[in-house]
């Protein structure tokens, strides 16, 4: 497996000058980082000539301290049984990338989700605006600087009483005057 | 006397039909290894539906849809003789009433189809087309069986057939068996239980024609369904099992016949519309043809 990975890394580096290899941590995983402009060409190359024909996922990582969003493409080769992670960094204030759903059609759904939840804009993406959240008017909710609890406190009316956080079973037993049986006492706090 | 007899007949049909529906649920539950609702559950359902405070309808035709069903059931009830010799029940029989019966039994679902079409709900429209297509399926063996026994006994009235059975001493079930088998197989389609319940199909189709009816309209549909079930069973008893002399015999014979669709429905899965039509034009039509051959030749 290691020789196969060396061969793949050498071929990728020969064709794309700005591919940097990151630390791999398992037998059948590879990790390369590229700039965002080379993403369509490297994905085409990996799919057509290297045998990584299956797109498993497209995810986004929020590096809040460094001010960047990282988009990761996970590809899988069923013949060699190797997974490759292709990473790019985007600027957090203006995250724009190229659209890749002409390579795999399912990338359309992943890109829609990322546009709604993280705010990443894909140029050339043709899809309806709303995906899961209807009538959403706030900031993209999956970013780390979006405080979910404060937003929920402000928008939805909360029922008072969560602050003291009593044990449900003991409170109900005390209220109704019942006794908790012996075999269940060991689960009390 | 006749009007009182008609009201008594209607009440008997309503009570017996609803009880049979409740017994259907109870027997199905026991087959599925659980206790079911009490046997009078259909009465409670009907009473609850009738006491709903608002009745929402989408226009005049939709409002009249359940009324067409009820009219068809009641007219059929008045034609079919419930007991053979009785002063109480109305005998509106005439020569040729079997053919009239064939027509009036299809009048109800057609009126319901008009009513369901006005709602604009696509589920109603699909349910109605499926129901009418399935009716095309089971009408063929049913009509063949009736034509066979009409040819064999040279009469087109129900009382004429009952008199022929009383005269010869044997039931029509034994003297024209193929007609009986074809009619029983057609009865499975008429009741609308599994496997031919693609019309009602609650989980698949949001219950077809009844999907926009609630409250009092649903009460009317349920009652007319029960009355119609009683009418069909009594018709079969009159034609094939020699009629009934008193209420006890009528109840025993109709219950025995009712067990056929109930028990078959618990052991079968639902057919699609084209599968059910293909089934009806298979063995039941074959038995119908045999019945006509037997009537003509022997």
């Amino acid at each position: 497996m290691n020789e196969l990975k060396e061969v793949i890394i050498k071929r990728i580096k020969a064709n794309f000058a700005d591919a940097a290899e990151r630390n791999d941590f398992k037998d059948n995983r590879l990790d390369i980082a590229v700039k965002k402009e080379t993403i369509p060409s490297i994905l085409f190359y990996l799919k057509d000539e290297m045998g990584f024909i299956h797109l498993s996922d497209i995810i986004c990582v929020d590096w809040l301290e460094e001010g960047e969003l990282e988009v990761v493409f996970i590809l899988w080769s069923p013949v060699d049984k190797i997974k490759v992670f292709v990473r790019t960094r985007l600027d957090r204030d203006n995250p724009v990338m190229d659209n890749v759903d002409m390579i795999w059609r399912q990338a359309n759904t992943y890109e829609r989700e990322m546009r709604e939840m993280f705010g990443v804009q894909f140029t050339g993406l043709v899809a309806p605006d709303e995906f899961i959240l209807e009538d959403w008017q706030g900031p993209p909710p999956f970013r780390r600087d979006f405080d979910t609890a404060a937003y929920a406190e402000k928008t939805f009316w909360q029922r008072p009483g969560r602050e003291d956080a009593q044990d449900v079973r003991e409170t109900i037993a005390k209220r109704d005057g019942e006794e908790i049986p012996d075999f269940a006492k060991k689960y009390s706090r | 006397m006749n009007i009182l007899g008609a009201v008594v007949t209607f009440l008997l049909a309503f009570v017996v039909g609803m009880t049979y529906g409740g017994l259907n649920r109870k027997i199905t539950a026991r087959i599925q290894n659980r206790k079911g609702p009490p046997f009078y559950q259909n009465f409670i359902d009907a009473f609850k539906l009738a006491s709903k405070k608002s009745a929402i309808h989408h226009g005049a035709m939709h409002h009249l849809g359940p009324a067409f069903l009820m009219v068809s059931s009641v007219v059929t009830l008045m034609i079919v003789p419930v007991l053979t010799h009785s002063q109480w029940f109305p005998n509106l029989n005439f020569q040729g009433d079997l053919i009239f019966l064939l027509y009036i039994m299809t009048f109800g679902p057609l009126g319901m189809a008009l009513g369901a079409g006005q709602t604009g709900n696509p589920n109603s429209a699909i349910g109605v087309t499926r129901g009418l297509s399935q009716m095309v399926g089971f009408e063929i063996p049913w009509v063949m069986a009736l034509v066979a026994i009409m040819i064999q006994y040279h009469t087109t009235s129900i009382t004429g057939l009952m008199a022929a059975q009383a005269q010869s001493g044997t039931w029509l079930m034994f003297s024209s068996p193929f007609a009986f088998i074809a009619a029983i197989l057609a009865m499975l389609g008429m009741f609308g239980y599994s496997p031919f319940d693609v019309v009602i199909a609650p989980a698949e189709l949001a219950s077809g024609p009844a999907s926009e009816n609630g409250g009092k309209y649903l009460f009317t549909m349920m009652s007319s369904g029960s009355v119609f079930a009683f009418v069909k069973l009594t018709l079969y008893v009159d034609l094939f099992l020699g009629g009934a002399d008193n209420i006890i015999m009528l109840l025993i014979k109709t219950f025995a016949l009712y067990m056929i669709p109930v028990l078959y429905s618990n052991t079968s899965v639902r057919y699609r519309t084209e599968q059910s039509i293909r089934w009806f034009w298979g063995w039941p039509t074959f038995f119908g043809l045999l019945a006509i051959l037997q009537a003509v030749i022997f």
Partner: protein
């Protein structure tokens, strides 16, 4: 006097019929819907109480809100609730309808159902077991018999308050007015 007494007798008979024949709309809004099939089938038979599933809102009595409601779902649930015919009841199922449950700090789920729809009976648990569901139905039967299951009337009388709450969380209000 005769009118009031006969009205009371009619009410008693009607409530008896309504409590023994409850038709639940077959609509599972959240993850609590997975406890409905075991309750309705052979082992914990709910049909002996008269409870059976209804296919459309026009035929149903009870709307079983089983779990969390997002903003997208609550638009549809309000439409479904207003299509049902009087008298109708709402059962809040699971702890998400009581105080938000485990999604209390989510950006998209509502926390207290009582502000948007009138609830008659709550069943707590996450998810409640079928025995708890059956006891919830028995509680609803007791409330119906006592004449206290008046959620629908409360909704009609306080419609402005409910609508104000609903419009606050639904920015894009596209619902028609239903007549009842």
């Amino acid at each position: 006097m005769n009118d009031k007494n006969s009205q009371k007798i009619v009410d008693i008979i009607q409530n008896w019929a309504r409590k023994h024949s409850i038709w639940v709309l077959a609509y599972g809004t959240g993850c609590g819907a997975i406890e409905i099939p075991p309750t309705m089938t052979s082992r914990y038979d709910a049909e002996r109480l008269g409870v059976r599933g209804a296919a459309t809102p026009r035929q149903a009595d009870v709307l079983l809100i089983s779990g969390y409601l997002t903003v997208k779902t609550i638009k549809r649930v309000i439409r479904v609730y207003e299509q049902m015919q009087d008298p109708k009841y709402v059962i809040g199922f699971g702890s998400c309808t009581i105080n938000g449950g485990m999604y209390y700090d989510s950006y998209n789920t509502i926390n207290v159902l009582d502000r948007y729809l009138p609830v008659d009976v709550y069943i707590n648990g996450c998810m409640p077991r079928p025995e708890a569901v059956l006891s919830g139905f028995a509680q609803l039967q007791k409330r119906i018999a006592a004449g206290r299951a008046t959620g629908a009337q409360h909704y009609k009388e306080n419609l402005e308050w409910y609508r104000a709450n609903q419009k606050k969380i639904i920015p894009n209000w596209v619902m028609p007015d239903y007549n009842w």
